[in-house]
Amino acid sequence: MEYLDSLTGFRLDGRRPNDMRQIRGEIGVVAKADGSALFEMGNTKVIAAVYGPREVQNKSQQINNQALVRCEYSMANFSTGDRARRPKGDRRSTEISLVIRQTMEACILTHLMPRSQIDIFVQVLQADGGTRSACINAATLALADAGVPMCDIVTSCSAGYLSSTPLLDLNYIEDSAGGPDVTVGILAKMDKVTLLQMAAKLPIDIFENVMQLAIEGCKAIAQYIRGVLLENTKQLECCRGV
């Protein structure tokens, strides 16, 4: 299958190899949650809700000098092409939950909230590739909305290598092509990598290019997220009459 048209250089959905899909982020979508956000990357739609810091529900897991961060990732039954009944604890969900938790733990200042618990719940409403990245971006926005102290914002983006070209932000068709898929999560201002996952074989020099492309994507998303948060703060200022 031609993932990159040789004449025009366009991908299957009309993007150029370095183009990301259209992103959109919205804060405060779940009124009952302490913080919540909706994040869309193309057709992938994800809702994240943050509850916390609050009292630890299972006292045996309480940590005395820092906050306990928990994360649960789940996909709606209608989120993918065929409706698949998804058991809650299946391996993929558990793995992605762990990945998101550890990525967010890297930036949350947990030592400021000892003996408390921060819950991050992520629900995928529509999946079209890049769900992991969309979840991390949504979780960042939701944590910021909840006022949880963080040292930096974490953003994530994926990139792949098909038809001998590095491609940014793969959608589902490109992802299932069987080529390499690199997902990167970075702390935007500090320019540090917290998450790096890759499956499939790739020569080292090409890997560097693909990873660099993904990091560029992350920085662009960080720019956008910062804009959304600033806008939100301005509106809050307006409401409070500052």
């Binding site: 809700a49 649960e72 039954n77 209608f78 409706r83 819950d119």
Partner: protein, 313 residues
């Protein structure tokens, strides 16, 4: 007056019952510590803390088609309660005792994002209850004729999977879920299918229809015909008051609720009063039915508006 009691801080609210010890106290603190006297103070003036009269429901909105990958979907908000319903159709072999009927599978989920009291790993207590209520109402109202879901008698029929996700739980969960199910069914577009050479039913895309060699289409109808559409209203009973469309706070303080479901020909489909400390007299039940009738007209208008809005696009 209700307006005065919600305004500033430090109001002297020496209400009935537990409030007498309060003296000077902040309104928000009073609301947390003595919720029942706080509400009763408002009910005396026939109003609720969010300035709604007792019999009015919250603002309702319906959006059709938010999930592009599903065959039919709807997002419904009643106040802050948000429900997302989506229907996916799959071809299956009908059972031997009903060879020309399709089937319906309804599931209601309350993921942990919807409310601080839902813990991961342990499903919310009300979720299976609402799931069963929904199944019962949709089947017993006979809104959907299962024969319309049949493709080839005895060989192929549609299995409609309806999944409803609660994205924000703020009271009246059943009402919002039922409305979202109905909206999703009215938005449902059945895909066109044809019989392939090896006897399998395959989906046909729109452009193939313009092709000269059109495959034999098995079904011509694109939309489901909904017969008698059920609408519901949940009310809370407290002493002699009836509060329509409660929020989560009201539901937790005053525990007796009654849900009435009517269909579009004003026939009773279901009444559900699962116990509770308040005993309802016949007159109260009749009042609830009248309230449900009014609510049904509102909901019918809202549904029609969103359907016509979709057709314009």
């Amino acid at each position: 007056m209700a307006a005065a009691s919600t305004s500033g801080s430090g109001r002297d609210i020496g209400g009935s019952g537990g409030g007498s010890a309060a003296g000077e106290m902040e309104v928000e603190a009073y609301r947390r510590l003595f919720p029942l006297p706080f509400y009763e103070r408002h009910l005396l003036d026939s109003v609720r803390p969010d300035a709604r009269p007792l019999h009015r429901a919250r603002d309702t909105s319906v959006v059709l088609g938010p999930v592009a990958s599903a065959d039919g979907s709807a997002l419904v908000k009643i106040g802050d309660t948000t429900m997302l319903a989506a229907i996916k159709l799959e071809v299956m072999t009908p059972s031997a005792d009903a060879p020309d009927e399709g089937s319906l599978a309804i599931e209601f989920h309350m993921p942990p994002i919807c409310s601080p009291i839902v813990r991961p790993g342990r499903p919310a207590e009300v979720a299976p209850v609402i799931s069963k209520q929904l199944s019962d109402v949709i089947v017993s109202s006979q809104m959907i004729n299962l024969k319309e879901l049949s493709l080839i008698s005895g060989k192929a029929a549609w299995m409609a999977y309806l999944d409803i996700y609660c994205l924000n739980a703020d009271g009246s969960l059943f009402d919002a879920a039922l409305l979202s199910a109905i909206a999703a069914f009215s938005h449902l577009q059945i895909p066109l299918v044809s019989l392939s050479d090896d006897g399998k039913v395959v989906a046909v895309s729109g452009d193939l229809l313009e092709d000269e060699s059109t495959p034999e289409l098995v079904n011509k109808e694109r939309k489901l015909l909904l017969h008698s559409i059920p609408f519901s209203l949940t009310c809370i009973l407290h002493k002699k008051y009836i509060l329509a469309d409660p929020t989560a706070e009201e539901e937790s303080i005053m525990e007796t609720s009654i849900t009435v479901v009517l269909d579009s020909s004003e026939q009773l489909v279901s009444i559900y009063k699962p116990g509770g400390p308040v005993l309802a007299q016949t007159s109260t039940v009749k009042d609830c039915i009248v309230l449900t009738k009014h609510r049904m007209k509102e909901l019918q208008n809202i549904l029609e508006e969103s359907l016509s809005a979709m057709e314009v696009v």
